[in-house]
């Protein structure tokens, strides 16, 4: 083959294309560690000497915006994904195992939820939440998240459950275990890849969500990291260093989460997507 002579072409092209693609990320990274006045005058230069001033300014803000937002984001994200995993694993199991016609219809109704734009339901949701006194509360946001993302969880779990032999469950049922025990002790441990992709995907989506916390938590109450960034950008337009630092700090947890679980992430993406 002639490829030996041209074997340098592919890596060079790949690196060049990736470098162009990476420019916006480079722009954030260098400016997080750059003195405020240099950000607008030499935005693309390396941060020399690097400074941690921007980061410490965000961490020590008198109103504690970062820490309040971080706590809210962590509480909402963790609660939502835990409840979502439990509910959608069990519902996915029920739907995958049941052969009834009405459960087929129910599956279709749930899958339709995968394409419903949040804007369609947000106006009535605010009325429902106001009526139940859940508007502007973290519980309200968690409940909304659970309802809105249950279809995705069910979609991933039921796909995997179809690959688990029914005989396994029947044998355990005959041995006297009840359905709950069978599910949590035998089936659920076999669903680790599905659980990983549900936790990872929903974790990232809910963490990054903007529109729902913006509207459900409202302007005055709590902020999450994304709504916190959105609000501070208006307030601190001049202080670009803080804006970049806030974005960096808000993204850091997700980035670490992603880099640590990269393999499962990509497996979940492709497995979950191609199985259903």
């Amino acid at each position: 083959m002639t490829t030996d002579k041209r074997s340098w072409v592919r890596p060079v092209v790949a690196i060049a294309v990736s470098a162009v693609f990476f420019i916006p990320l480079y722009y954030v990274l260098v400016n997080v560690f750059k003195r405020g006045d240099l950000i607008s005058t030499e935005p693309s230069a390396l941060p020399l000497p690097p400074t941690l001033k921007n980061i410490s300014a965000v961490l020590t803000r008198p109103d504690g915006l970062y820490w309040v937002s971080l706590t809210n984001s962590i509480v909402v994200t963790l609660l939502s994904i835990l409840v979502l995993t439990v509910l959608s694993a069990m519902l996915g199991h029920y739907l995958a195992r049941s052969q009834k016609r009405w459960t087929k219809a129910l599956t279709m109704v749930l899958l339709a939820g995968l394409m419903i734009p949040p804007q369609v339901i947000l106006i009535p949701i605010t009325d429902v939440l106001r009526a139940t006194h859940l508007m502007a509360t973290l519980q309200g946001l968690v409940l909304f998240n659970v309802g809105y993302y249950v279809p995705f969880g069910v979609f991933v779990f039921s796909g995997f459950i179809r690959g688990v032999p029914v005989e396994l469950e029947e044998a355990a049922l005959l041995d006297g275990a009840n359905r709950m025990q069978v599910f949590w002790r035998i089936v659920f441990p076999l669903l680790k890849p599905a659980t990983a992709s549900v936790l990872i995907f929903l974790g990232v989506w809910i963490w990054n969500d903007f529109i729902d916390p913006l509207i459900i938590l409202g302007p005055s109450q709590g902020t999450t990291v994304t709504t916190g960034i959105y609000r501070s950008i208006g307030q601190y337009q001049a202080d670009l260093g803080s804006v970049f630092a806030l974005m960096f700090l808000a993204t850091l947890p997700v980035l670490i989460f992603y880099l640590a679980l990269q393999k499962q992430f990509v497996k979940g993406l492709t497995g979950g997507a191609t199985k259903g």
């Binding site: 790949a14 309802g147 990054n208 529109i211 994304t226 997507a273």
Partner: protein
């Protein structure tokens, strides 16, 4: 296994018992496994859709009662409403760009990165990172980059361009800038899905085709591309749905402008009309139309792409 378990022992006793027995557990099975998830889904997704539909037939405004039933008037008004028709156009352009560009570039980059080795693994991570970033963060990064005095225009000026484009301030360009930003964020998703698809292409088939004298382009057309059909389906549908939902970028970057509604999508207008201006009835009609468009277009595209998969 042969020992009679309680259930089996009961089966033999009487026919009535045998018939009654499974019914209760089945109800219990649904109540414990299915109901909690279904209930929350019905309350927070299905009921609001029905309520939305109800609102759309009224002049509902929570801060301006009384609410009157107006029939289909909202829908009639929509189609003579300049703002809505512009939003329809904006959403169509945005959707076409976001479905086509990341798919084409994503396939190209996946082919480029479809090799083993640390370098290619690292570059995959580069492309995928924007996918896990919040769209708010992505919006702000690009808003700064594309500012009239921002780094991109500074570079252009340094290169001798006297009047670099107003990427986000020129009404003729802003929509394409926003669409490009969405493409930048979504590209990595397409790359990863295509890479996974490429791993499923058997090397024997490609080698066989090469022996038969097929060049690289022919091998791609005849072997690789048909086998990537499922990846194309996933990418197209995911891009389609996320393009229809586009809200965050518009809200953060341009707030619908510059000028009047040059970047305002339907999704943006629904919330601007319904929650900022409180015309919930009219906004609900917009939302219902949006839902119908999403459902119809997605179903048609999915049918078309799925049929293509089966044929091969």
């Amino acid at each position: 296994m042969t020992a009679p378990t309680p259930e089996r022992a009961e089966e033999g006793k009487s026919p009535t018992r045998r018939r009654r027995k499974p019914i209760l557990p089945r109800v219990w099975h649904f109540a414990s496994f299915g109901a909690p998830g279904v209930l929350i889904y019905l309350c927070f997704v299905m009921a609001p859709i029905l309520i939305s539909f109800g609102y759309s037939l009224t002049n509902y405004n929570p801060f301006n009662p009384p609410t009157k039933f107006v029939g289909l008037e909202n829908y009639k008004n929509l189609f003579s409403d300049e703002t809505f028709l512009t939003a329809l156009w904006v959403t169509t352009v945005l959707t076409l760009i976001v479905v086509i560009v990341p798919n084409v570039l994503g396939l190209g980059i996946a082919l480029l990165l479809d090799k083993k080795g640390w370098l290619y693994n690292a570059l995959r991570t580069v492309f995928f990172t924007p996918v896990i970033l919040s769209s708010v963060v992505v919006s702000i990064i690009w808003q700064k980059l594309l500012d009239d005095q921002g780094p991109i225009n500074q570079v252009l000026r340094a290169l001798g361009v006297d009047h670099p484009p107003g990427w986000l301030s020129d009404p003729d360009i802003a929509l394409y800038s926003v669409a490009s930003i969405v493409c930048w964020q979504m590209l990595g998703f397409c790359v990863v899905v295509y890479l996974a698809g490429l791993q499923g292409v058997p090397t024997e088939l490609l080698e066989a085709a090469e022996i038969d004298g097929a060049g690289p382009w022919r091998r791609f057309r005849a072997v690789t591309w048909p086998l990537l059909a499922p990846s194309l389906t996933i990418n197209t549908v995911v891009m389609l749905i996320s393009a229809f939902k586009t809200y965050d970028y518009v809200k953060v970057i341009t707030n619908g402008g510059p000028g009047s509604g040059t970047t305002a999508t339907i999704a943006f207008n629904v919330l601007a009309t319904g929650l900022d201006a409180n015309h919930a009835g009219y906004a609900s009609a917009m939302a219902v139309v949006m839902l119908v468009i999403v459902a119809v277009v997605t179903t048609i595209v999915l049918q078309f792409l799925r049929r293509r998969e089966v044929d091969l």
